[in-house]
């Protein structure tokens, strides 16, 4: 239990760092870190299959996607960075404060949100659930992947410069 809470606190911390750090590149790395910590947490919760997906896709693929975008776009000049930093500080200093206060508040009121739980079912393999009970979702996954393909075709295709 203690380990769980520690991971969760680390997770929140990683998210905070992701949001607040100056460099966009580090933000993307922070996101990967957050995902990795989340993977750890999911794994701790006895959900290894979801954990694997989270690790490979969210901690791997998405940060790579972001980093590639960041590398495609040019960085800011130094002056801009300095100017930017000041305004960033003004905009973001409140965040940790908000998070801490919110955490305490939620801890206080959380006792009221107690659900009456139905009886636990017998543990089944998630793969069986996915393949037998949630076929519609699988179809949805296939379709959305196709949608993504068309999205790439439409949005990434280099068009002839027409002005």
């Amino acid at each position: 239990m203690f380990l769980d809470i520690l991971i969760l606190i680390l997770l929140a911390g990683a998210a905070l760092w992701t949001v607040m750090c100056r460099s966009l590149l580090r933000s993307a790395i922070g996101l990967a870190l957050t995902s990795a910590l989340l993977t750890l947490m999911i794994f701790k919760m006895n959900a290894p299959l979801a954990a694997v997906f989270e690790l490979s896709v969210c901690a791997g693929l998405i940060p790579v996607l972001f980093i590639s975008v960041i590398s495609l776009t040019q960085a800011m000049t130094k002056q801009e960075v300095i100017k930017h930093m000041k305004s960033r500080l003004a905009r973001f200093w409140g965040l940790p404060l908000v998070i801490i206060i919110l955490g305490i508040l939620l801890g206080l009121v959380s006792a009221r949100f107690r659900a009456k739980l139905p009886l636990s079912e017998v543990e089944v393999d998630p793969r069986l659930v996915l393949w037998h009970l949630r076929q519609l979702d699988l179809l949805g996954q296939i379709i959305i992947l196709f949608t993504g393909v068309f999205g790439v075709v439409v949005l990434f295709k280099e068009r002839k410069k027409s002005g």
């Binding site: 659900a115 009456k116 139905p118 076929q135 949805g140 959305i144 068309f150 439409v154």
Partner: protein, 476 residues
Amino acid sequence: MCASLILIPFISVLVLNLPIRGIKRLAFGLAVFLFLLQMAAVLIPDPAFWKINHSFCANIFNFELGADILSKVVLFCIAMVSSVTLFSAPAFIKNSDEKFNFINILLIAVCGMNAVAMARDIFSLYVFLEIVAVSSFILIAFNRDMPGLEGAFKYIVLSGVATVLMIAGIALLVLIAGSTNFSLVHYMLITQNKSLIAGLAVGLFIVALFIKSGLMPFHGWLPDVYTSAPAPASVLLAGIITKVAGVYALVRIMVSMLGFSVSIQSILLFAGAVSVILGALAALTQSDFKRMLSYSSISQVGYIILGLGSGSVLGIAGAAFHIFNHAAFKSLLFINSAAVESRLGSRDIDKMGGLAKQMPLTSLTSVIGSLSCAGIPPLAGFWSKLMIIIALWLVGFKSYAVIAVIGSVLTLAYFLVLQRKVFFGKPSDEFKDIQEAGFSLSLPAIALAILIVVVGVLSPWLLKGFILGFVPVLGG
């Protein structure tokens, strides 16, 4: 068999993309054929078709789907608006490759919307909502011009937040009900005492779908998106996508899963009333044709939500009828705006005037669309508004009924402004040599106008059966 409404469009997308020479040219015809087929399938009341496990596929595919009259109304609207969009596309998208892509994305969006209309599982609903959302992102940014990209980005942000709220709601349902099936969740929600978590879950769903359907004050993205999307895409978006992804989903979830309570009803009614009035007010001074129509959309969605909020059979029947009507007249009006835009190259209504002479068909059909939207008898829009107002009155929300009537007056007001500025009034010299819009934009407009008039005139004879059809929807 109703699964075929999802599978066939998807399979046709797959087939169209096979590396066969010349198959791309079939895309347009195939899509038209599919949409007509879908309309026919909805209108033919073959109960066997709508049974879930009908054919041999039952052994392989195990889809949780179902269709009642509410779904059928929406399925019909989907096919109707999509075919209209398809017809209007060639006027704006000239490049044949781009046209092909457009048709593919349109088919995928239709596939997603059909699934949303028939889903009986909250998580599947979410998955297909996302398919619709992603395809609409692509459609908005289709031209990759700056306004389109800006609108798409705003939609991505707001829709992303809505998605997250919805998954959170699903998580809470998993926690308290252990399932995501509509009827199971409904059963659990009834049997369990009203816990705070259940209340939170309801709130999350309502807010998520309010954002998706663009009710005030969750509507910020909507005018920007409708305005910035390419003309055919905005027909699709305004006519059906946000209605299915937001409004229909909300109606479905309320009716089949969450059920009504006093506080939920008061939230729905309040948000509906605010949207009706503020949407209409905001539309009043717009100078962009499409932007005015998009605020009008917000206002009309408010009516649908008012009908839903009444919680009665009549109100929900009225809401469903209004979804249909809105699909008809709003896509008609967007087609009109597309026609004007295609000829004038501008959407600024302050600069237009006297187009009724140069574009008589567009002018006439837009008058029919506007009047139907403002609820003038005997056009179709009148009946659905009447049903909603009567439902509100009968249930006892009399002040909301009055608000609905006032909103109707405001609707008439801004459409009068629109008509006066665009089609009547002084013709401007700048646009002297304008011709009537081409065949591809006139044909859908005429078809929709005829549909509005015919449905309106026949309504008194059809409505009774229509309303009675909704008794099992609310009962089950």
